[in-house]
Each structure stands twice: as structure tokens, then as C-alpha cells.
């Protein structure tokens, strides 16, 4: 959150008091004490009200006391962290004191704290408070008799962080403020002060008789907090954070003061790649960043590309062409945050990268880095995890880190500038110098970028210079060690393995969805609970023509709208179009759906056809669209006090019904849908079994015991006849676990995600083939298509053709089919098989 500019002179010092509901009279007294400060003319006091019930009363007290009032709307427990961060964000002073509403400051204290911070800017100033005796409760104090207070108070032992913390505002850029996970009571000030120490600020106690804080007596807050389970849990959780979390920066998604980090990009004539590089940075979920682009004298459309993106976080700086190191140094100089994230103008920034950087930035680390995945023009991926960072690893192991995966504290890059005398290899030179100078970098355990390999890579164009520069750098640094030490370092480096990055076992799944637009069919699932925002997101997608693939431009725009989404790739089981709208299970919805399916079948169902039914909450944009989209069947359904809109359509072919359902689900994540297949004898069977009363429709979804028994019996027969006992089988199951009961054989659902049924049909053949490949990679040997799913072979034509290259081990009269998916048939075999199929169809 950045501080707004103000026309009035800024105060030098801000006192921020967190407040909620309790102790208004003590707040009155505290404000009066601040108003009597010797520093009053240069001071502002901010009362940060975190959700008081009677905000008007608190506001009046603040204003009467000469304080600014900041209110945060809250529907949750008290959080001193959030209250203080909100007040700090609202302040404009260079120095901040955070304190409580029940503390009385002596008049000299503010000025003393301010002066000491001027003398020792890298310090934090603390004053320990003195507890006034019970006789000095708020009603008993009618004047500030400091001598009496001194005589009737006891010094609180200096084991905590005192009654106030004074610090320079820029400290917040290094820590992102108080940890907002901490709630109710205790630990947030200890944690904050400790992280400030980790960031290099010493804690200094002001111990001067003229500079005192007196705590007005009242009953213990901790006792009150401990009375409730929620309070006790919060105290425990706070304690756990304090004891276990060694990261320096918190609140990464919402820093108290920003920008949290600066992405520094040096560019020269790479307009063709720069746009997607920038969109990938802007589409990641952390908003409070800046992106500094130093244009090193480009003669192409680089400036236009940056301008046309229209994002205020982009800062474009142009300089005469001076080379990569000079542009990088300029980028660092232009950054305004305390952390610099290096990124190249032709690479893709993965969305989890910034959070990963800060999650790994623990005490003592000067920066963090990650793995990378190379991709080429044909979309081939090669993952590189990197290795643990050390001087010996850099010099003797190789493959330790890639420069554009780095984040460094700015003060490090100000000391280790890029060597502008080098024509090439300044990145390696920098990293080597960092390593040999005692800089400590932590690996995040994540892939950070997709690195684009292309002909105009600097690595390609200046290969000779790179090598020469690297060798010279290496040889210089090798002189630190004598031969025996170097031999030992080499031996250790040989044994050094790569760091394991998350997703390394499925790189395509992990990073594939983020490839450039021309290399991936990107899908998206809108995870937005707010219906209006979800509709806005849909309009963005429609406006950008995102029918077959969602471009990076759309991700950038959706992020700018504040929409939550999940990205996948067609053929990957992450977010296929049909998965887009899967709402969480809801018993009321399910009951409504069961009712309306019966009604729809009764109204429009016909033997041999398929009915598609969609359901969503009434009074939503999606409901209106659905109502207009399906004229054959429309109902309003009430269930448990909620209103739903249901629509239905009947189709010749189940594939068409599936397509209709996909279309319904694209409108919103809140749409649930069902396809009821009344073909292949199922309708007759269902009527015979009493599942359908032609007057009333299906009483429950297909899955009734008798129906299921028929279905599964046929499948078991197919398997018994044609598959070995040890076979590993994928079953097109629609999630029906009974279909996996194959007499001890290893069976799994198809399609499957993360070991469970994917929850949806594939959107098209490409996706179906993708699922099949994933299953094969997981060890599946056979694909079983039960009779109820025989329509797959009609609907997914390319998928059928794909399967026809494989050996069919079973084909039943009722429609069950089993394919051996282990390897494709040889051509001759395919020809023979095709001939046999022709003969079978047309008679011998």
C-alpha cells in the first residue's frame, strides 16, 4: 500500500495507536498526553480503529484529542498487527512510533526518540513502560503529575519490546510491517522488532528520566484473551509464528507500505518478446510491486510496447546504448523498494515466483533464487533446478543458478554493481563476486522462469566473449585457494546434486500453462465467488476472443480486475474448460438438481436421446444467460429457502449434450450440470427397473443399484475375458468407484487428476489424448470404455482414431471396449485390423 502524496507539510513523526472498542477513557488520556508533547508541532497522532462497533464515538474522541482517525471495516477478531499497519500506511511521517491506547508519554519522549533516530538511522528506539499502581486507574488521573507517576509505578522487566517502538519509515520496506496473521493478543511487537533486527537495525533502549511511558492501570488483557478458546488458539498461533517463522518479510500479498519489490528489466530491441515478459510479471498475484524497464537505446517499438500495456506499475527509463551491465546498474539505481528481482526481457515470469522469493528469505540471507525451465520455439521444455549456492559450487560445480531467477536486497546490488567494463559475462561475474564475498543466497525450491531459447540470446550472440569473461573471472577467484583446497573443493562440487524444485516430476504440468501464447492452449477457471466480478471476467475473455486459448493479455487484465483464477493447459488436468465451472459440492444444490433432472426428463426426454440439465442460483448474471440459452426446458426450483434456475436441452447425441453442458458451465463457476444418457437401452432398462416413471421422470441419478449392477456386470465380464490378473486399467468411469472393482486388478478412473477422478469429461479429443498420455506415463496399460461411455468413440473422433492405432483386446456387443495402450500397432497390423473391421460390419 503506498502512501498518498499530501499538499500540507508532512509531520516529522507519527504516533500510531491501534484501537478497538475498549478503554475509550484511557485513549482520551493518552491523546491528551501526546498533545502536551514538546514535539507537538512536528507530530501527528493517528488512531487506527480496527472495527469498533461505535466508530462515531471513537472518531469523535480522536478528533477532540487532535488525532487523525483511520477506520478499518472488519468482520473478525482484533488484530493489533492489522490495526497498526493500517495506521502506518495512512501516516506520512518519516519516523513512526507505534504504541497503545493506555500509555502516557512524557513530553520529552517524542523529541528524544526522533533525535536518536537522526543520529543512528539504522536503529530502532525502544522505551520500556512503567506500570502505574492500581490507584492510578483512568478515573483517578485528572492531571499529568509525572513525579507522582514516577513514584507510584514499577518498571516492567525489559524482556519484551516495551511500550513503544520508534523506527524510520523505510524499515517497513524491509519487513512489510507487523505480521497480519497475528490476532487478538501477544507477540506481534516482539516479532516485528526481531525482524527489524534481522534486517540490520539494532534495538536501542532510551533510558532517561525525562523520557518515560506510564501504563494506566486496568485488568489484564491477556487474562481476558485466555478466557475463550478462540483467544487461547490465537495466542498459541502467534507464539508459533514467533518461534518458527524465520522469514524477514511478511504480508507479502498486502505489505503495509510498498512497493514490496522491484522487478528490474534491461532491454534492447526485444519488443517482440518484451510484451509477454511484462504481461507475465503483471499477471502474477502480488499487486504492490514496481517494474523498472531500462531501455538501453532500442530502435524498435520497445517504448510503445511498454506504453500500450497501460499499467501504472511499469516505469520506463530510456538511456543511450551502453550495454547490458550499464542498463542493469541503471535499473537498480531507479528502483524504489528494498528488494530487486532480476528478470530478462525475453523470459516468462512464473506466477508464484515473488511469494517463493520471500518465503525463502530467512534471517541471514541476502537474497533468494530458483530453478528455471528452458523452452524452445517448438515448446520443448528442459528443467534446470540449480544447486546450493556457495563460492565453491559457482567455481567448480556449474549449473548453480541462473541470473534472471535472482532476487537480492537492493543494498547488495548497490555494493556489487555489474561490471560495465565487460562486454559479456557480467552476470556470471556478478554472481561469482557475490559468492566469494560472503553473500548468502537461499534456493526457493521453485521454478521461477520459463527461459526462452532463441537465436538472439545474448549467450548465443556473444558466446566467445562470454567464455573469455567467465574464464577470467573464474581464474581470478580461484586464486583464493591453494591447490589442495581447490582439489577438495572440486571433489565436493562433483558430488553436488541439484536442488529439487516443486513440480520437477511433471514439469509440463507445472509450467506448461504459462508458455507463450503461440505454444500452449491455455485454459482458465475463474475462482471468483463474487458473481459480478466473475461476470466482468467473462466479458474480458469474450472481448479478447478467448475461445480456444486464453492469452497472456487476458491474464494481465483479469489480475488488474482483482479476479482470482487458476490456469491450466488443454490436455493437462488442471483447468479444462469443462472444469471451469465446477462449484463446490452443496447438498441443497444437489437435492435441487435431483428434483429438476426428473422433471426435465419427464418434460423433454425421449428414448434414444440425451438430456443436458444445468442449474444455478437465481438472481445471478449466469441465471439470466442460462434462461435465454435453453428454451426447451426452464424451471425455477426452490430448495431449503434458496432459489435456483434450471434449464434443459435434449440432444440426438450424448456428445452434443456434453458440448451443451460445457457451454453452460463457461458462464460461471456457480453452474452445476448433468447429462442424462437415455440411449443405448438405458432408457428402456431404467423404465423396466422402475427408475423412470414416464409421468414423473427419473427419481434419482443413474447409479441405482439394479442399473449399476447391469453396467458393472458387463464390464467385469469384459475384463475377465481379456485382461491378465495383474493388468493396470484406466476406466472411463464418470467417477463411479464400482466400475473400478475389477476382481483385484489395479484400476483407476479416467480421466484422472492427482490420483482421483478429474470430475469432468474432456473438452475435446486433444484433451482426451492428453489424459491418455498422462495415464500411460503413470503406468496404465489398458483403457476400458464401458457401454455407458461408448459415446466417447463417436463424439471424440480424433481420440477414436488415436485409439485405433492401438490394439483392441475386447469389443463387446453392448458397447464395452478395451484397448491396450502400451504401444501403437505396427502399420501392417493396423491394415489387417481395419480389414477385419470392414468384414465384420458388412458380413463375411
Amino acid at each position: 500500500m503506498t502512501v498518498p502524496e499530501s499538499a500540507a507539510p508532512k509531520p516529522d513523526l507519527a504516533v500510531v495507536i491501534g484501537f478497538r472498542d475498549w478503554g475509550l477513557p484511557r485513549l482520551v488520556l493518552a491523546l491528551e498526553a501526546h498533545a502536551h508533547s514538546d514535539f507537538a508541532a512536528r507530530l501527528e497522532v493517528i488512531v487506527s480503529d480496527y472495527g469498533s462497533k461505535d466508530r462515531e464515538e471513537v472518531e469523535q474522541v480522536a478528533q477532540r484529542g487532535g488525532a487523525r482517525y483511520v477506520y478499518t471495516e472488519v468482520d473478525g477478531p482484533w488484530s493489533r498487527s492489522r490495526a497498526l499497519n493500517a495506521g502506518i500506511a495512512a501516516s506520512e511521517a518519516a519516523v513512526v512510533i507505534t504504541t497503545d491506547a493506555d500509555l502516557l508519554f512524557t513530553p520529552a519522549l517524542h523529541g528524544a526518540a526522533y533525535a536518536r533516530l537522526q543520529d543512528d538511522p539504522r536503529s530502532i528506539q525502544l522505551v520500556q513502560c512503567r506500570d502505574l499502581s492500581p490507584g492510578f486507574h483512568v478515573d483517578a488521573i485528572d492531571e499529568f503529575d509525572w513525579e507522582a507517576f514516577e513514584a507510584h509505578s514499577t518498571f516492567r522487566p525489559r524482556w519484551g519490546m516495551g511500550g513503544m517502538i520508534a523506527f524510520r519509515r523505510e524499515c517497513l520496506l524491509e519487513t512489510a510491517g507487523y505480521d497480519e496473521r497475528m490476532e487478538i493478543y501477544s507477540g506481534e511487537d516482539l516479532d516485528f522488532a526481531r525482524r527489524l533486527a534481522w534486517a540490520g537495525h539494532r534495538l536501542s533502549w532510551i533510558d532517561d528520566p525525562a523520557t518515560r511511558i506510564y501504563h494506566v492501570w486496568h485488568s489484564s488483557s491477556r487474562t481476558a484473551a485466555n478466557q475463550t478458546p478462540a483467544g487461547r488458539l490465537a495466542i498459541e498461533r502467534n507464539r508459533s509464528i514467533y518461534l518458527n517463522d524465520k522469514t524477514v518479510v511478511r504480508n507479502v500479498r498486502r505489505p503495509a507500505v510498498g512497493p514490496l519489490a522491484s522487478v528490474a528489466i534491461a532491454t534492447h530491441n526485444r519488443a517482440e518478446y518484451l510484451e509477454q515478459a511484462l504481461q507475465s510479471v503483471l499477471a502474477q498475484p502480488i499487486e504492490d510491486i514496481e517494474v523498472v524497464i531500462v531501455d538501453d537505446g532500442s530502435t524498435d517499438q520497445t517504448a510503445d510496447v511498454v506504453r500500450d500495456l497501460g499499467d501504472s506499475r511499469l516505469r520506463y527509463v530510456r538511456q543511450d546504448n551502453g550495454g547490458v551491465p550499464s542498463a542493469r546498474n541503471r535499473a537498480v539505481a531507479e528502483t524504489r523498494s528494498k528488494f530487486v528481482i532480476v528478470h530478462d526481457d525475453d523470459d516468462i515470469f512464473l506466477p508464484w515466483r515473488i511469494e517463493a522469493h520471500f518465503d525463502a528469505l530467512t534471517v541471514g540471507a541476502h537474497g533468494t533464487y530458483g530453478g528455471w525451465v528452458d523452452f524452445s520455439a517448438d515448446g520443448a521444455l528442459a528443467a534446470r533446478s540449480g544447486k546450493s549456492f556457495s563460492a565453491d559450487a559457482i567455481l567448480y560445480a556449474g549449473g548453480v543458478l541462473l541470473h534472471p531467477t535472482l532476487m537480492l536486497r537492493k543494498e547488495i546490488l548497490e555494493r556489487f554493481t555489474y561490471d560495465e567494463s565487460l562486454r559479456a559475462g557480467s552476470d556470471y561475474n556478478l554472481v561469482t563476486r557475490l559468492a566469494t564475498s560472503g553473500v548468502k543466497l537461499n534456493h526457493t525450491g521453485e521454478f521461477h522462469i520459463l527461459r526462452r531459447l532463441h537465436e538472439s540470446n545474448i549467450t548465443h550472440t556473444t558466446a566467445d566473449h562470454q567464455q573469455e569473461s567467465a574464464r577470467r573471472t573464474t581464474n581470478l577467484m580461484r586464486r583464493r585457494l591453494h591447490k589442495a583446497e581447490e582439489d577438495a573443493a572440486r571433489a565436493a562440487a562433483r558430488g553436488m546434486g541439484p536442488v529439487v524444485c516443486r513440480g520437477a516430476e511433471d514439469v509440463a504440468g507445472r509450467v506448461g500453462p504459462y508458455l507463450p501464447d503461440d505454444l500452449v492452449r491455455r485454459t482458465i477457471r475463474i475462482d471468483e465467488a463474487d458473481a459480478a466480478r466473475a461476470e466482468e471476467a467473462r466479458q474480458v475473455l469474450v472481448g479478447l476472443g478467448a475461445k480456444t486459448s486464453v492469452p497472456w493479455a487476458a491474464l494481465h487484465r483479469l489480475r488488474a480486475l482483482g479476479v482470482d483464477f487458476t490456469v491450466g493447459a488443454a490436455g493437462e488436468a488442471g483447468a479444462a474448460p469443462a472444469d471451469q465451472a465446477r462449484a463446490p459440492a452443496d447438498e441443497v444444490e444437489a437435492a435441487a438438481m435431483r428434483d429438476v433432472v426428473g422433471q426435465a426428463i419427464a418434460a423433454i426426454g425421449r428414448p434414444g436421446k440425451t438430456v443436458a440439465v444445468a442449474l444455478t442460483e437465481a438472481d445471478t448474471p449466469a441465471a439470466e444467460v442460462l434462461w435465454d440459452a435453453a428454451p426447451e426446458f426452464q424451471r425455477l426450483v426452490a430448495a431449503d429457502g434458496r432459489q435456483f434456475v434450471a434449464v434443459g436441452s435434449v440432444h440426438e447425441h450424448i456428445g452434443d449434450a456434453v458440448g451443451a453442458v460445457s457451454g453452460f458451465e463457461r458462464f460461471s463457476s456457480s453452474v452445476r450440470s448433468v447429462v442424462v444418457d437415455l440411449s443405448n437401452g438405458n432408457m428402456r432398462a431404467a423404465i423396466a427397473d422402475g427408475l423412470i416413471d414416464e409421468g414423473r421422470g427419473i427419481s434419482q441419478e443413474p447409479g441405482d443399484a439394479a442399473y449399476r449392477e447391469r453396467l458393472t456386470g458387463e464390464v467385469r465380464e469384459a475384463v475377465e475375458q481379456s485382461l491378465p490378473a495383474t493388468a493396470h486399467v484406466a476406466v472411463v468411469s464418470r467417477g463411479d468407484d464400482d466400475l473400478l472393482d475389477l476382481d483385484g486388478r489395479h484400476a483407476q478412473h479416467f480421466p484422472q487428476v492427482d490420483g482421483t477422478y478429474a470430475g469432468h469429461h474432456p473438452g475435446d479429443s486433444t484433451e482426451a489424448i492428453g489424459f491418455l498420455r498422462s495415464a500411460r506415463a503413470a503406468g496404465v496399460e489398458y483403457l476400458l470404455i464401458p457401454p455407458a461411455s461408448a459415446w466417447w468413440l463417436d463424439y471424440y473422433e480424433d481420440f477414436r482414431r488415436h485409439l485405433e492405432r492401438l490394439r483392441c483386446v475386447y469389443r463387446g456387443d453392448e458397447g464395452a471396449v478395451i484397448f491396450d495402450i502400451r504401444e501403437p500397432l505396427r502399420r501392417q497390423q493396423r491394415v489387417v485390423r481395419a480389414l477385419r473391421e470392414v468384414i465384420r460390419r458388412h458380413g463375411s
Partner: protein, 212 residues
Amino acid sequence: MDVTIELDASRRGTTVRAEAGQYDGHPLFPSVTVSGAPFSLHPDREAVAAGLIFHESVAGALTLGRGCSPLMASALRKFFEPIDLHVLSIDFEPSRINMGDSTLHVVVEGVNERSSPRTDGNDVVFVVKKEGAGMLATSREVGVVSNAVLVPAPGDVPIKRMLPALGVAVLFAEDLFVSRVSLPGLEDAVSTEHWRRLGSLLDAAGLKLVTP
């Protein structure tokens, strides 16, 4: 803060290590390395080096690996004021510091490297570079590499920026038989409070801070 100084057995390096206490600022470089090691090092000179190298981080208690004399402890307290420094490792047993009669001109990369020290007789120019490898020694000049040059000092006050590298130079004062220290190019700092405090601290270790 606990500070220890390790001399590499092969004399090719020195490491000054700090372990921050509860109230200390964590140093940007908790291990300050030097590409050379002195032959002899008095504990009081060690104490001066520790105080200068980590002067921006120490908050209160200071423990030194080999302790220091009461005089040095007092000098450190005064140097750090208004910070309430407590030196916890005082050695009351007196011991002699070998001193010579020459001046050590300290030149630090990025601070006063452009200055031209006015050397005389047996004076030595001690150059501290921030990056590189190895130590170069002639009869009149010694050059070392140390990340002490990279230790931050807020504000743009040259004498403050120089302090950590000066601490490195003090480690070698005994080997070089110097009794005076000069900071070429920092003439403007002579009348300042920083200069006065630094002079008092060096004086307690038998080194006189002279006008450049």
C-alpha cells in the same frame, strides 16, 4: 554480540565473525573476511577491529574472543555512546603491545582511493579492496581484499564508511610496526566528533590518529 577472530593456519586469510545477540542488528556480513592474516595480534587491537567493523550493529553487550583490557573496554564504551555498551570479556592481566614509529596510511576502495598519501620514511600505505583474491605486500605498501569495504554505513560520511576497513587495517598494525594512523583525503573530518571518538579509541590501543 559475540565477536571472534580466526586466523587461517596458512596465514592466507582472516575471518572476523559476529553472532548477533537479542538486541543487536544483524550485520549485513556477519563474517568479514580478509585475504591475509597477521603474524601477531594483541587482544586490544582485536577489540578495536571488532568495534570498528561491527560498529553499526552492536546494541549493548559485546563479548570478544580473547577479551580486552579495562582501558580498551572503557574506550569502546565511550566510542559507542549513547549506545549503552557493555564489554563482557575484560582481561585484567596487562600485556604489552609491540609498537613502532611509522605511520599507517589507510586507503579504502570507494572512500579515499583517489587520495595521494604523503608518505615519509618507513610509512606504509595499507590498501583495502572490496573484491579480488590474495594479498600483495611490499616494504611500503600492503594490499588486501576484504568484504569489510562493503559493510554499509548510513549517510554519506566518508569517515563512517571507512571504519570497517580501518578495523581490518588495525589487525596488521603490529606486523607493520606502526604507531600512527592516517586517513588520506579525509582532512575535512578532522574537526568532527567522529574523528575525536575514533582518535580516542585508537589511542587506547597505542595508535595515534594523525591529521592527513
